[in-house]
Every structure is written in C-alpha cells, then in structure tokens.
Symmetry: D2
Subunit: 290 residues, 4 copies
C-alpha cells in the first residue's frame, strides 16, 4: 500500500484522561484490531495534573467503518479510562468565522493562506464593526457582514454577532484584530473555540496599547500571543507566542509596524494548530501536538 501522506483523509483522535498504565496499549490495540494505520502519534503525561493526553492520526480508508461506528465501538474503552475524547474527520473542514476591525495585516495573511490552501478550513463569513475591509474580503468570494457598534450600548452589536455566528454554524471564531472585548456570555458559549491574537508577549502588557507600554518599559524584544478567549481579559490558555528584536532606534510606531509581522505569524500558526485539532486544553494551559 503506497500512501501519499499529504493528500490522505485522516481521522484525528484526541484524548485526555487521568494518567494510568495501559492507555496507549489499549488505544493502539483497538486501532490495530481494526487494521487502522496510525500515521501520526503524540502523547504527553502531565506530572503535575496527573493527566494524560494523546492524539492519533489514522488513515481513514484503513478502517472498515466511519466515524459514527468508531464512536460507538470506542465508547467502552473510553469509559474504562474516564476519557475526554473526540474524533474528527479531515474531510470535514472546520467553519471559521473571522472577526476584524480596520487593521488588515492578520486578515490579509489569513486570507492569503486560505486561498493558497495553507489553512484547511471554510470561512463562511467575515464580521466587522467597520466597512473598511469589505472590498478585500468580497474579492475572495467571502460574505462580509458589517455589524456596527454603538459605544453607548454594545449589547445589540454582540447580540447580532452571536446570531450571525450561530447562523453559519461556526466551529471557531478568530479575532483577527477585532479590538473589542468579548462579553462573558459569548466566551462561555464557545469555550476553547474563540481564538485571539494579542499584540504583546503575555503576560506582559495586558490590555490596551501594549506597544506603548513596551516602548515605555524599554524592552529589547516585542512579541505576540495567540490564545483562547476566556472571560478573564488576555488571560486565557496560550496556544502560541513569538517575539522579535527591537532597539532604542525603534519608535512606538516602528514597533506597531514590526509587531504586525509577529502577530500574523503567531495567529496563523495558532489557528492552524486549532484547525488540525492539535490543541488540547489542560486547565489554563494548552498541550500543542505540533
């Protein structure tokens, strides 16, 4: 059997459960019993939380059944080990809603990657509180939904946003420089599914104007952080981070410009991990099987 791993339909099995002896053996035996071909495998035992995490990619066609039957058959084993688990199909692309404000660097980068096939997802719509980026989005054939914000009362805005997200049956929401604080109700409706890019190396410079804070402190590197959104501002589980070097020559405005490159790179990596079901949440931390 010759396999081209790049073009192969895969099932992605993610598991977390209390750590004990025999988990890997049980799971891999289950898959081997059904002649499943594991082409990628990761595992991690967190000595602190005593939790065990694993992720398998199995060639879909190597198994004699589909996801539904897999789920039914696997259930006993999952219960035996008290697993939180999920299995997804690479052929079923995630539906990712992108939310933006006026700044286009993250959006441009994501849409480039999307149309080039680097991000394996659907984008049912882009939602924005401004009209600025409509033409660029629509050139891509993606609906652009303008939902204005009334600063005096943001409730109607978020109500409309939430309905729009629900109506397109989004699997994930990406805040690609959306610049509004997400209300608690929305956070709780999509736990581990709202992805933000913050323009600092968290936990440094939480909140507004992080580059100004960075310039004032005189740091020698600036960074960006991709994280899941929780009601606690800029404090959700971190998926990915990176930094770049600055010097005394760099003004705040330079930092804003230079930082864009890190922001978009970090967001693209974080989103890719999420889309490929490589991120498992571990309390307020993440396990990223990259």
């Amino acid at each position: 059997m010759v396999l081209n791993p790049e073009n192969t339909r895969r099932y992605k099995l993610s598991i977390s459960c209390p750590d004990t002896v025999g988990i890997v053996a049980a799971v891999s035996q289950f898959i081997a019993n059904h002649k499943g071909w594991i082409i990628e495998a990761h595992q991690f035992a967190d000595a602190e939380s005593c939790l065990f995490f694993m992720r398998y990619e199995v060639v879909a066609d190597s198994l004699p059944f589909g996801l539904e039957e897999f789920r039914a058959k696997f259930n006993d084993l999952a219960e035996r080990f008290s697993m939180n688990w999920d299995i997804t199909d690479s052929a079923q692309r995630k539906r990712v809603v992108v939310m933006v404000s006026k700044e286009s660097h993250c959006l441009s980068d994501l849409l480039y990657r999307w149309r080039a096939g680097e991000l394996d997802c659907d984008i049912p719509c882009v939602i924005s509180n401004h009209e600025t980026l409509r033409s660029f989005v629509e050139w891509h054939g993606i609906p652009f939904i303008h939902v204005p914000v009334d600063k005096a009362d943001k409730k109607p805005h978020f109500q409309a946003v939430q309905e729009q997200i629900a109506s397109v049956e989004a699997d994930a929401i990406v805040l690609a420089k959306y610049m509004q604080i997400i209300p608690e109700t929305l956070c709780e409706k999509y736990p581990g599914r709202i992805i933000n890019i913050h323009h600092s190396f968290l936990p440094s410079f939480i909140g507004a104007r992080p580059y100004h804070q960075a310039a004032e402190r005189g740091v020698k590197q600036i960074g960006a952080t991709c994280h899941y959104v929780t009601p606690d501002l800029d404090a959700g589980p971190i998926i990915e981070q990176d930094v770049l070097r600055v010097t005394h020559h760099n003004t705040t405005k330079d930092m804003v410009r230079l930082g864009k490159d890190v922001e978009k790179a970090v967001l693209a990596r974080g989103l890719r991990y999420h889309i490929e079901d490589r991120v498992l949440v571990n309390g307020n931390k993440t396990v990223v099987f990259a």
Copy 2:
C-alpha cells in the same frame, strides 16, 4: 503511584523497521502486558524510505524484569517486524571521550554541563594533540591524555588515539574542536558514535576556515552543525544546527568569536540528544526525537 519524572530510572527503547500496520499496537501491548509505564513516546513514519521509527521511555521499576529478560522476551516481536532495535538503561551512563585541540569554548561548555549534571554521562578521559587544556581538564578530576601529532605521519597518533578510546571502553567520541580529519578506519569502527561540531551551517562552507569563507561570501547569518562523522568529510548525518545574525560590521575575527556561542550550544544539544538515545540514523539523515 506518584512519580517524579526527573529522577526516575528509565528504559529507552528505540526501533526502526519497515513501515506497516500494527507496530505501535504490538509494541505498546507488549509493554502493557507486563504493566510497563510508558512516560515518553515518539514515532515517525518516513514516507520516502517507507521506514518507521519509534522510541519509548518506560519506567524501569514498572516492569517485572531487567534489560536482559526484556531483550529475550521482545525478540519474537522484533523479528516479526524486522526491527533494528535497542534498549538502554538510564542508570547505565554512557562513556564519552572528548577530543580537543587548543580551543576551549566547546570543552569549557561541555565540562560545565557535565559537572552541573546537565549531561548525564561519564567522561573517562579527554584526549588532545596539545598540552594547552591539561590543567583545566584535570581540575575537573578527568584524566587528560596528550597524544601528539606528527604532521609528516599521522598514523601513530591515530593508532594511539584508537587504543586509548578502546581502553576506556568509550560509547561515544566527541570532537569538541579537535581540528584533525578522522581516518576512515576510526570512522568505521564507531559508526553513529563519533560526533563532530563543524563551524558552519552545512552544507555551506565545507572544509577549512569556514568563517573566512562566510565573510568572503557576505552571508548575513553564520551557523554551526553537529553531525555524525563518516569517512566523507563534513557530509555525515546532521543531528543539530543553528545560526546567528551577523552584519557588515562583523569582521572574520568577530565571526570566529560570535560563532563560538553557536558552536558550543549546537554541540551541547546534539550530544545531549545522543546521550539520551534520541537520535536514530535514517540513511544519511537523522530522526531526532527531542
């Protein structure tokens, strides 16, 4: 059972074999059958060579037998899958001979890491073609063996070196800036066990005076490469590489100085991978389960 993963004696099982269905299941079932606790696992299927590589770390005390019995019991399974395989015991420290010339940056770094417990190996001796570094080595309580080189006839030198290596029963030889070309016979006696640090980002600047070559070409980053030594000069399997930025301001002499930091970091990482049995050779490439 509470485990401190840092201080736990482990068996390290490394396998490479033709890729097929069921390898992971068979191996993990074998270990589970004996109540073995897998605390680290890596695998890789090379679509090009159609080879499969895996590495398990098992808590030694979780198994009811030692290495000898493991080897005997595992043999059938290994033969069934045509495995190249090995299992080592973390309690059995590797014996690493370090060879140097006059430059001390890599040696200083390795010996610091060794005495700080960062490199889990024994160093039965340091061999050098110069007396320069004797006092520093001896301060560490390590025998320093001076084996002079006669440029007109290097054979006696390498004969003496080979005898010294054999007499201390070395598991690995580290060329920490040894600056002599290893003869083919020695290479072949220790395949995948002689580790060199080359002061360029290979395959750029093979051979002598790579920083001078780099300065002449006007590159904007310089690098270093840790690789296994084969009879083909600077062409063996690469274990680890890294680079750092230089500018037009940096003279060749600057590059030599700056490059030392990359050289010693890359060698330390490469050696650590080797000592922990994380490097599996795949043709002229390496699989590094870091």
Copy 3:
C-alpha cells in the same frame, strides 16, 4: 522646532570612498554649515577593502536648498575624497516593478505591505509569464502585464520585459518568485537594482529545487536569501537572509510551505532596505545600514 520623525521629508545621502581621516568631519561640517538637521547617521570602515561607507538622513526642510543645489555645492568635497555618492529625496518614491510567475506568497505579502503603507514605493506594474495572478493584482489597481515565455526561444520574452520595464521607468525590479533566469544583458542594464528571493540559505542549495536538496541533505533549518541579481546565478551580493527550524517530520512539501514564510519575510525586509537606500554594494557584499 518640533519634529515628527515619521512624517518628515528627508534627504538620504549615501557615500562610499577610500578610507581616510576627516571624511565624517568634512561631511557633517558641510551639513552643519547649511543648518542641516541630521536625524539618522551610519558609517562603516571596511578594514579589508579600506573603503569607508556612510549614510546620513537630513531633514529636507532644514536645508535652504533642494537636491540640485545640494549636488552642485557638495561636488567639490565629494571629489576631494574620491567619493561614490548619491542623494535621494524621500518624497520621490521609487518605481518598483514586480515580476511573478504563478506562486502568490511573496506577491500577496508585498502588495499587502504596499497598500498598508509599509513599503514606501510606487508599483507601476506587475509583469508575469502567466495569467494566474491577474485578478489579485488588478484588485489593487495595479496594471498586470502578461508576457508569455516560449521555452524554445526566451529572447522575445525578455525583450518585451525589458521594454516594459523601460517604459514605466522602473528604479528597481523585484523577482517575487519569477522562476526564470535573468539574461546577462538585463542584469547589466540594472546593476544593484534587480532584487531576487532565493528559497535557500545561500550558498547552500544553489539552483533548482533547493527544498528538495535540503530535504535530501537532512538539514535542521531551512532558509531564504534576498540578493541582487548578477549574471552569476544565485551568487550576487546578499542583502538579507533568515532561517527557520525543521525536523525529520517535515516532508519536502512541508518545507515548501514553511519556507514561504521565510521567503516573503526576507524579501520584504530586503526590498524595504533597498527602497530606503540603506544598501550600499561593497564588491560582492553589501553594507546594510538598517
């Protein structure tokens, strides 16, 4: 006098000449005599070539005259020190022709930066040997010129390209993954003005399919190189380079995808340096006053 350095019109003075005592004093005195305000200054003495390089940015409005008069007045001093020199006006944006084939990562990145104001230049047209990227370019309001290549005879193609470049009075030509070897005549017509992005860390992997070469050699980092094009393939002066880490898990196809991020970042930085007149050619090397 309060100055906003970001929005200030500047004269950019670049000088290279044989190194001797008094150059900086003479030049800065000349500028001070005319009440010029130097807001950025760099200099470099190359001990090897015995050449001296310097670059000043002067606030345009601080001088009592324009470029023409500057040139006339500065001439004596320049001759005294046998200077190669040039002065440009930040208000006079460079005209940059972008050449592409079918791949869009560098083009998308450059056009994003251009429309976001990160690249301070005009793009009079994009030239391509394929129709693939027409719609994307035209959405930006930039003319897209399709000049097909006849593999049997590439001369007419390059004749047409050269005429197009001349007709828009290009100051610089960017090969943003153009994938054709530039003929010597074109190279010589625009020395130090044709900028290429090569998808390897030169001088490693010159020529075709560098990622395949990299995968075969088993390197642990891949890179990209932005350089001026000379008739000698992939051997012109290097402007900028960078790398990223890969592992045994990364297939050649992964490297191609991952490498795109380095390619576009390195090209964007290199082009920015060029546009801002920060690159001075020093034999087959560059001085980059970044």
Copy 4:
C-alpha cells in the same frame, strides 16, 4: 597607515545632550582638527525625550594628546551643548566584581569568556554568600571572598560587601545569580554600574521563582533580562533580553535548565556592552550602541 582594528587602542567618547542642530558637526570637526581617526560612530535622536546620544571610537594614537588633555580641550564644546559626556581608554580595563551564590552557570560562562579574552576586563575578586564556588574561582587565579549572610540581619553582609567592592575599586558589579536583593544604599552608590541577570522576560514574572510563574501561566517561550539594578526591584533599565521556545513537555525543572543557557548568553552580551561603554542610560531605558 594600515590599521588592525582588532588590536588598536581606542578612546571611547560617549555623549548625551539636548537635541539640536550641529552637534555631530561640532564633535567630528573637533576630532578632525586634531587628526583623530574615527573608527566607529553611532548616534541616536530620541524624538520623545528630545535627547541626542552619540558614541565615537577614535584611534588613540591618531590624536596628539592623551585623555586628560582631550578632556580639557573638549570642555568648551561640551558646555556649549550642555553635554553629559565621558571618554574612556580601551587600554584601561574596567574592574568588574562578580557576585554569585551557589549556581555556577553564569559564573562559568563569564570566567570562560574572561580567560579566553572575550571579555576585556579585570576581575579583582568574586564575592559570594556561599563557599560552593571557591575552588573553581581560585583555579582561575581570582580571589574568592566569602561573605556569609545572616538571614535575621543582612546589614553586616552588605556592609562587608560594600567595603570589599570599594577596596578593589570596582568599576562595575555583576550579579551573576547572586539571589539577594541589593539594598537601596548600594544601588545608589553605583548607579548604572550594578548589572543583574533576571531569569524572566521582564516585565513578566518579576520577583521570586519566575520559571514557576512561567510554567503556571503556560507561556510558550521563556526568557532572561539583563538590566541595571535600581532600588525598584527588577524594574531598572533593560540592557539586553532574549527568549527560547518551550513546549508543554517542559517541566519547571526543564525550564530552569534550559533557561540557564539564555541567562548566561544575555548576561554575557549585556556585560560586554557595558564594558565597552556601549550602554547609555536614557531615563529608565537604555541606548545600546552595539
């Protein structure tokens, strides 16, 4: 005149003053008038503080006088521009006291660099609150001064430390993992001359056990910060910072080990900048003319 820039005695002139037109011209003219040969030059205008910073390196033998006469002659010019300024002689090596506790990674690295000639300074003594590192220090021929700390009353300790520092006429004090909070009086006695290495990417994780804080927050990179010590804990002007990547696999103990490499690299770079008079303090920030 042929110059080997590596071995040349240099005067290092550092200036900060209110920004205005003509500073560079005046200074470079002064030097040119005395036939001084400038071999390195940096300048920076801080648009925010409206301060101007510059640093020249002049070949000592190219001037017809020594430092004392330079100072006398330069004074008028300095007063005209209200300069804070200093000039030092590369032949006059700084006297750097190193303070340590029990951890040896930074000390080992600094002493390696010192004996290899990478750090151009004298080390009149190493002071420690423990005996642990005596033998290693003394092997280098450097006096090791043990000054115990009484936790109940640290005053006598710091009194003795301060006397020791004064008795060896230290120009700078390096806290190479000294792990004690420096009292305000000592900070104020040596402003801009006490250099600390903090094991986090400040301002993240100020105070104790930063790696534990980092592990708990689940960051994806850890870092280190070299800064001048002020009475405000971990809040002094930052000289240098760097980071390295960690994953969920890395325990706190791993971070401690991995972080050592960043700590020692960042401290070595920061100290080198300081020794070469490349760091100019700008409020609570630094200008580093690297």
